[in-house]
């Protein structure tokens, strides 16, 4: 039984009894994106020189994950109008009517403030400032401004998704360095090829909601060329850890193989016919791009683990 005081200023339309479940609020955090953020932030933390208490490291990752989730909730609040039209996003909690926009906005802002403050108090204010900037960049610069304004939206906006390993690095070192910038570049340069592959086979949906994705604005041929250019740049960035000396030659060989795979799938997209409705090469590139990013950061982590083991054995003898 709920008591509602109708003597106040509330109108009937303002009274709404929610049927939103905890799972709906979890969905607002974009858990799949959050998992990638957690993984790359963890990699940045492990690869950084220096030490961090494991529990403090866990809290740092938690804060970065919640901050990423908060920016996802803010993104869903602002994009509810276009989410409702696109098939891929129509079942999200706001367009589906399970959570109101105001609830999502409050949820996102609260989690943003909490994640930044806790990271600042527990780990350091440089990393916390970086997290706050990342949330701002994704929610305001990308979502509110670039996404609906320019076909270069995901190129510039992709920076928000590329910052987590730098934040993880900053949690350990208290700053940034060339190595953390390289980790940033791998994700930053990977994002356009990844998203434009998706945009190719979702052209109709993006066109329907007026989001100026590159294939809709500049056409498919231009998009294909840009995908290839960014795939090559990503492959080069992928081997930079070896070239700069903070990863082994073994990692470099794995990164080169993965990079060549990324370029090869991009070349297959070039030969895709414009009348091809299934766009299988674009779908395969999109799938491989996910494997690529996961594999490249896994390889960096494995490389660091092997070096640590070799170092431990070396000391033992």
């Amino acid at each position: 039984m709920t008591v509602i005081d109708t003597t106040g200023n509330l109108n009937d339309g303002d009274i709404r009894l929610s049927e939103a479940s905890a799972r709906d609020y979890w969905a607002l955090l974009k858990p799949r994106v959050m998992s990638l953020v957690v993984f790359t932030a963890f990699a940045g933390m492990v690869l950084a020189p220096g030490e961090i208490n494991p529990f403090i490291g866990f809290v740092a990752i938690l804060c970065i994950a919640v901050g990423a989730g908060a920016s996802g909730a803010l993104n869903m609040w602002y994009d509810a109008d276009i989410d409702a039209v696109m098939k891929r996003t129509a079942t999200r909690p706001i367009p589906a009517g399970r959570i109101t926009g105001q609830e999502a906005l409050g949820f996102g802002l609260t989690l943003s403030a909490f994640s930044v403050c806790i990271l600042g108090l527990v780990v350091g204010w440089f990393a916390a400032g970086f997290l706050a900037f990342t949330i701002f960049f994704y929610a305001v610069v990308y979502t509110m401004w670039l996404k609906r304004a320019t076909p270069q939206n995901i190129v510039i906006g992709g920076a928000a998704g590329a910052f987590p390993p730098m934040i993880g690095w900053a949690c350990v070192t208290g700053g940034v360095s060339i190595e953390s910038v390289v980790l940033f570049l791998i994700i930053f340069l990977w994002t356009p090829a990844h998203f434009w592959a998706l945009a190719l086979f979702k052209m109709g949906e993006y066109g329907a909601v007026g989001v100026p994705m590159l294939p809709n604005v500049k056409g498919i041929p231009t998009t294909k060329v840009q995908i290839l250019v960014y795939a090559v740049l990503t492959a080069v960035a992928g081997i930079c850890p070896t070239l700069l000396g903070f990863a082994s030659v073994g990692y470099g060989i794995v990164a080169l193989a993965l990079g060549l795979g990324f370029v090869w799938y991009s070349i297959k997209v070039q030969s895709m016919s414009e009348t091809d409705e299934k766009m299988l090469p674009a779908k395969k590139l999109f799938a491989f791009s996910l494997v690529y990013l996961f594999a490249i950061f896994s390889a960096l982590l494995a490389d660091r683990a092997v070096l640590a083991l070799l170092s431990a054995f070396g000391k033992g003898f």
């Binding site: 929610s18 479940s21 403090i56 809290v59 938690l62």
Partner: protein, 46 residues
Amino acid sequence: MDLITLTPAQKRARRGRNIALGLVLFGLVALFYVVTLVKFSNGLTH
């Protein structure tokens, strides 16, 4: 003053949200407790 009876679905959703919120609050208490211990022990060793 009007009285509104919640539907079973609304009751179920509210209960789920309350449990989730309780778990989050409990987790935060545990988290701050352990962070305090870690920070204090670091302060003592350095």
